[in-house]
Symmetry: C2
Subunit: 203 residues, 2 copies
């Protein structure tokens, strides 16, 4: 035991992210089925060997992309919720989070296409399913907590159950998001439906 294990190089994480971003780009415009070593390498502008080096199994590549997508979305939402100052009330935060689940520009569109692809993959892939379940549990808990805050200060209509309504709101947002993605319902109208649903919970 004369040597410690050598950690990965300083650029390691950045390179990994570049590759994961390439996967996200491919998923966003050609779907999960179009993801392959060569396609990812071409998209990222690196050699297929490098892709294989960082992700020795395709499954790992997909999982990394999933987590990368979640990280990017979280960052985007965090930026939105703190932009209006730290004094944003629970209802405002709730509204922002739900609104971000509906595509409204090229970036959110890509993010949500990716998310939709992963939700389908979860049905046949336990690893993805587990990650998604954790993800949803966190999201539902977070929104329920926001509703409980407003409930404590008497802003909610009586009889509203935060845990149930949190799930309902996210389900509605995602259902609407999908309609926007395939073009059966305009983004603006979807946002309106969401706002109506939120208003319905408040006095």
């Amino acid at each position: 035991m004369t040597h410690r294990t050598r950690g990965p190089g300083a650029q390691h994480e950045q390179r990994r992210n570049e590759i994961a971003d390439a996967v996200l780009a491919i998923v966003a415009d050609r779907g999960l089925a179009a993801v392959s070593q060569t396609a990812v390498a071409a998209q990222a502008g690196v050699s297929p060997g490098r892709v294989q080096h960082y992700f020795p199994a395709k499954q790992k590549l997909i999982e990394a992309a999933f987590e990368r997508g979640n990280a990017l979305s979280s960052t985007r939402i965090a930026a939105k919720t703190t932009a209006n100052g730290a004094d944003a009330g629970p209802r405002e935060v709730l509204t922002v989070v739900l609104t971000e689940l509906v595509p409204y520009d090229a970036v959110t569109r890509a993010h949500l296409r990716v998310r939709q692809s992963f939700t389908a993959a979860a049905l046949a892939d336990d690893a993805i399913a587990g990650r998604l379940r954790d993800d949803y549990a966190r999201l539902h808990t977070r929104l329920a907590e926001l509703l409980r805050q407003d409930q404590a200060t008497g802003r909610l209509r009586p009889g509203v159950e935060p845990d149930q309504e949190a799930v309902t709101l996210v389900a509605l947002a995602e259902g609407l998001a999908y309609y926007v993605l395939i073009g059966v319902y305009p983004a603006g109208a979807a946002r309106e439906r969401l706002h109506t649903a939120i208003s319905g919970l408040y006095r």
Copy 2:
């Protein structure tokens, strides 16, 4: 012009449906990515050659399975809506249709897993997207029509817009359906949320 064209044999449609059913079974438990000539042939218990004969291109096979799935769902819903007699009111029909969008047994679970798979495929496949758009347009129109009937007889709350609410209800149902499919929310609770949403539209 001494000979007319020979039509397909009598068993033609039945054989096609058997193969399409095999595709649906595979999609339901292994996902769209697991669909291949050999897998379908094995599932259907026929030779790969027969699969290829009936569906000379994979795309046609997928499309046929999609339509087959829709046909089966329509049949199932039609059976439910007429089971209670022809005097079922618009609200009852609306409730049945929406309830059928949420899995509650092995059959509906399989159907809705398949549907979820196709919704994801639509994001990267224009042919599927077009079919889904038509499908949704019909569904939304149908539910809006039911709401309008109850609106005409004064049963709806004032201010309810049938076209908008029809979309909202289906979006909610599908979002909840997905949660049931991946196991983050129980089927019974999902149905409750749906019933609550429907009640909210009525006086």
